[in-house]
C-alpha cells in the first residue's frame, strides 16, 4: 500500500532561520503530491502541489517554496522563517482515481 514518510514530527525554529521539511512516498509511482498547512483547530490550506518532477504550483503567495527533485520526494522550504509560518504541515499524495493519503505531519513552531 502507498505510504508517506514525513519528517521531522516536531520542529522549533527561530525567526529568520531556514526551513526544510521533507516527505517521501512509498508504494506508488508518479503520484500527485501536496503540501497543506493547518492552523490549530482549523481546516487544511493547500500551499503547493506537484504533478511531476520539477513541476510545482503554488496556491497562495507566501514565504515558503516547494521542490520535487525526485518522483517520490517533495520538499517544503523557506530561506527565512516568520512567526506566521508556525503551524501543522501535512504532506499528501494521490494517484489517479484514488483517495489522498497523508503523512503524519510536522508541527512547526517559530519562536
Amino acid at each position: 500500500s502507498q505510504t508517506i514518510h514525513q519528517w521531522p514530527a516536531t520542529l522549533v525554529q527561530p525567526v529568520g532561520s531556514p526551513l526544510s521539511l521533507e516527505c517521501t512516498v512509498e508504494g506508488t509511482s508518479n503520484p500527485n503530491l501536496y503540501w497543506y498547512r493547518q492552523a490549530a483547530g482549523r481546516g487544511l490550506q493547500l500551499l503547493f502541489y506537484s504533478v511531476g518532477i520539477g513541476q510545482i504550483s503554488s496556491e497562495v503567495p507566501q514565504n515558503l517554496s516547494a521542490s520535487r527533485p525526485q518522483d517520490r520526494q517533495f520538499i517544503l522550504s523557506s530561506k527565512k522563517l516568520l512567526l506566521s509560518d508556525s503551524g501543522f504541515y501535512l504532506c499528501a499524495g494521490q494517484r489517479a482515481h484514488t483517495e489522498a493519503f497523508f503523512g503524519q505531519g510536522t508541527r512547526l513552531t517559530v519562536v
Binding site: 500527485n32 501536496y34 481546516g43 502541489y49 501535512l90 499528501a92 489517479a96 483517495e99 497523508f102
Partner: protein, 117 residues
Amino acid sequence: AQTVTQSQPEMSVQEAETVTLSCTYDTSESDYYLFWYKQPPSRQMILVIRQEAYKQQNATENRFSVNFQKAAKSFSLKISDSQLGDAAMYFCAYRSARRTSYDKVIFGPGTSLSVIP
C-alpha cells in the same frame, strides 16, 4: 471552482447514539469523488469513507454511512453507535474524476466531533 462547505464547526454526541455531520459542495461536473476523512488528536488523516458520484447507492463502512444526494449536492456522514474513539475532526472532501493529470482534493473546513461518555 469547486467548493466544499461544512456548516457545523462543532458537534457533540452521547456515546452509543447516532450523529450526522453535514457537507455540501458546489461543482459543475457530473463525475467526481467524495470523501470523509477523520483527524484524531494525533493529527493523522484517516480515510473514513468514499463515494463515487456515478453510484446511486450510498457507501457504508461498518458504523459509518453516507447520505449522498447528488441533485442537492449534499454528502452527509452518519455515525451510528458512537464510540469515544470517534472523537475527532472530520473533513469532507471533493475530487474531480476527470482523466487529467492533476485533480486536487478540495477539503471543507472541518467539523469537530466530541463524544460524551
